[in-house]
């Protein structure tokens, strides 16, 4: 028995390319969606980053407190005089920074030990202002602490003997958390790319034959059904493989187009990473093509075919979440279970590590065995007897 039939392979490829609308849709989903969404989120994060780096103190009446001016300058803040109509501007959300109001006689009252008041005028409805308000509060808090300690030390100890401890807090944890979340999405996008790249082809080559009533010509031909199925699968995998390869490589320019040096440096994705991703994804694409072909072969109506394909897509994209319950611990199930193990390998590549050839080899072997089994089951389903049974 031959494993491949060149005529069937050629026809299936022709059929896939003739359905150019479906192919374009598939290609767009597989190749473009991941990088585009990544860039969109990266842009948003970059604006967070830019905002977190924005050290502006908008003050009304800074001339009333020279010591506050010195403190803010020491904090490397750029002091900007608030516009006269700052209240209206804040209401209209036209300002990105809160306004610190220093009343006249503030410094004198402070020095005399009388209660002195500073006002921060902000607009909590404006989410962009919140981070900047918190930063201004931190500066003021540090200013108050510093002044209090100076006043106290002048009373108790000699000047200069007291070392002011300034704790600088540079909060990048939230940014890192957000960026890791974003980059953690790449394996999901790539698994989706694997699924989308083979979805329509796989279902079309199996259920499509039943639907268009062309299965009989295959059944009555002198070819073994396994040969027919393998040839169909190869066509689906070839197209899917090309799309997945492009999808894996499309993150290279996407990484270069990302705004913000911090983000760029946090995502190391070059040709080496893209190559290893491709090596991980091609066997997975082969397996998913087989799985979707099986779903198509079992279905008796187009709704069933769509439903089972959707279920496979949903499970395949969500199953890696199982590995997130305890990311530190990797059970043998997780390291052998396709999709989960692929997801983990991709995660490792993104962290800068590369999967060993042994790991890749084991995964390829598992995918090959499972694909072979699935294709055998597809062939069984598509043989005359199975088809006949499903009709009744």
């Amino acid at each position: 028995m031959k494993l491949l039939h060149s005529g069937i392979l050629k026809k299936e490829l022709l059929d896939i390319f003739r359905d150019w609308r479906a192919l374009c849709f598939t290609a767009a989903i597989s190749i473009l969606v991941g990088p585009i969404i990544l860039l969109m989120i990266a842009n948003t994060l970059a604006s967070f980053e830019a905002r977190s780096e924005r050290r502006i103190a908008m003050v009304h009446g800074i001339e009333h407190s020279p010591s506050l001016r010195i403190h803010l300058q020491r904090e490397t803040a750029t002091i900007i005089e608030a516009p006269a109509d700052f209240e209206q501007l804040l209401k209209r959300m036209a300002l990105q920074d809160p306004v610190l109001i220093v009343p006249s006689g503030f410094e004198e009252k402070w020095r005399a030990g009388e209660p002195a008041e500073l006002t921060i005028m902000t607009n909590s409805a404006n989410s962009k202002i919140t981070a900047n308000t918190n930063r201004l509060k931190r500066w003021l808090s540090a200013f108050v602490n510093e002044r209090s300690m100076i006043e106290n030390s002048m009373q108790v100890t000699a000047m200069g003997a007291n070392e002011l401890v300034s704790v600088q807090e540079h909060d990048i944890s939230s940014l890192r958390a957000q960026t890791s979340k974003v980059f953690g999405m790449i394996p999901y996008f790539l698994i989706l790319a694997c699924l989308y790249s083979v979805w329509s082809g796989a279902v079309d080559t199996t259920f499509g034959e039943k639907d268009s009533r062309t299965l009989e010509i295959l059944q009555s031909s002198p070819n073994h059904m396994y040969t027919i199925v393998c040839s169909k699968w190869l066509a689906v995998w070839l197209v899917g493989g090309v799309l997945v390869t492009i999808a894996a490589w499309s993150f290279v320019p996407a990484q270069r187009m990302m705004p913000g040096e911090t983000l760029k440096s946090m995502l190391a994705y070059g040709p080496g990473e893209a190559f290893h991703m491709t090596m991980v994804l091609l066997p997975l694409t082969a397996l998913l093509a087989g799985l979707l072909m099986f779903a198509g072969s079992v279905a008796t109506t187009s709704k069933q075919a769509q439903g089972s394909a959707t279920a496979i897509m949903l499970v395949s994209t969500l199953i890696p979440l199982a590995g997130h319950i305890d990311p530190s611990e990797e059970t043998s199930f997780q390291s052998l279970m396709p999709v989960i193990s692929h997801h983990r390998m991709m995660g490792r590549i993104l962290e800068g590590g590369m999967p060993s050839y042994l790991t890749l080899g084991v995964e390829m072997l598992i995918c090959a065995l499972l694909t072979g089994l699935l294709l055998y089951m597809v062939a069984k389903r598509l043989t005359a007897q199975s088809y006949r049974r499903t009709k009744f």
């Binding site: 026809k11 009533r213 005359a384």
Partner: protein, 244 residues
């Protein structure tokens, strides 16, 4: 010769075993046209699928020139009126695909396609997308596809459905030539009695999965004491004795 001996097929429908056809015995010799007649649901298509090797026999035996049907796919061409074409391919590509499935040598294929296209009057359709064909045109292309690998036996399930009169006349001529000149054995099923009467050398009448009668048109008319095949069929199947 195709020999059908006590053929039966049982399927399970809603958990109840049902015999689609049972105890059917007949023969399809080379060079003859056999008409398979029966009302809707009589089991004509089931019998054809069994002979084509598409379904498995539950009982009995079918042989093609002494070989089991499974090994005789090259000798049989099966045309089902509901069969489809690959809509995204042109007619020529559909035929080339069929040729590749039967491993026909490349140098012969194009000549064979032109030959069939001329005979079936579909030369103009070869470059047309199969999805844009009318029902009648599609049937002619299906016929060409069935004949492409030059099978010795043809199983034609309602081949005249959807064809206009001139196409039916052409097809009739074409099939008669195939049987007489090329010695093809042809089994043709149809609802149209007059059509079968004009084509068939021998008739097989089945009803509710059972063989009712078989013989020449004259034999059947004589045995049922009818003037024509339609009347004989009405008597046999529906027990109607007076047809206006």
């Amino acid at each position: 010769m195709i020999k059908v001996t006590q053929a039966g097929r049982q399927v399970v429908s809603e958990k109840i075993p049902v015999w689609l056809i049972r105890e059917i015995s007949t023969q399809i010799p080379k060079g003859k046209i056999i008409g398979l007649v029966g009302p809707n649901g009589a089991g004509k298509t089931t019998l054809m699928r069994l002979i084509a090797g598409l379904d498995e026999l539950s009982e009995g035996d079918i042989s093609v020139d002494g070989m089991p049907v499974r090994s005789a796919s090259l000798s049989i061409g099966y045309l089902n009126e509901q069969a489809g074409l690959y809509h995204r391919l042109t007619v020529r590509e559909n035929l080339l695909y069929q040729a590749s499935l039967y491993h026909l040598p490349a140098h012969k294929v194009n000549r064979k396609i032109e030959e069939l296209a001329t005979a079936l009057n579909i030369s103009d359709l070869l470059g047309k997308n199969a999805g844009k064909l009318s029902r009648g045109e599609g049937m002619k292309v299906l016929m060409a596809r069935t004949l492409l690998h030059d099978p010795e036996y043809l199983l034609l399930d309602e081949p005249t459905n959807g064809l206009d009169l001139s196409a039916v006349i052409n097809l009739r001529k074409f099939l008669k030539n195939l049987a007489s000149d090329k010695q093809h054995g042809i089994l043709i099923s149809s609802h149209a009695m007059h059509e079968v009467q004009k084509l068939a050398d021998y008739l097989v009448v089945i009803h509710q999965g059972r063989l009712l009668m078989q013989g020449t048109t004259q034999d059947i008319c004589l045995l049922t004491q009818s003037d024509n095949l339609e009347a004989a069929f009405a008597k046999l199947v529906y027990q109607i004795t007076d047809i206006e």
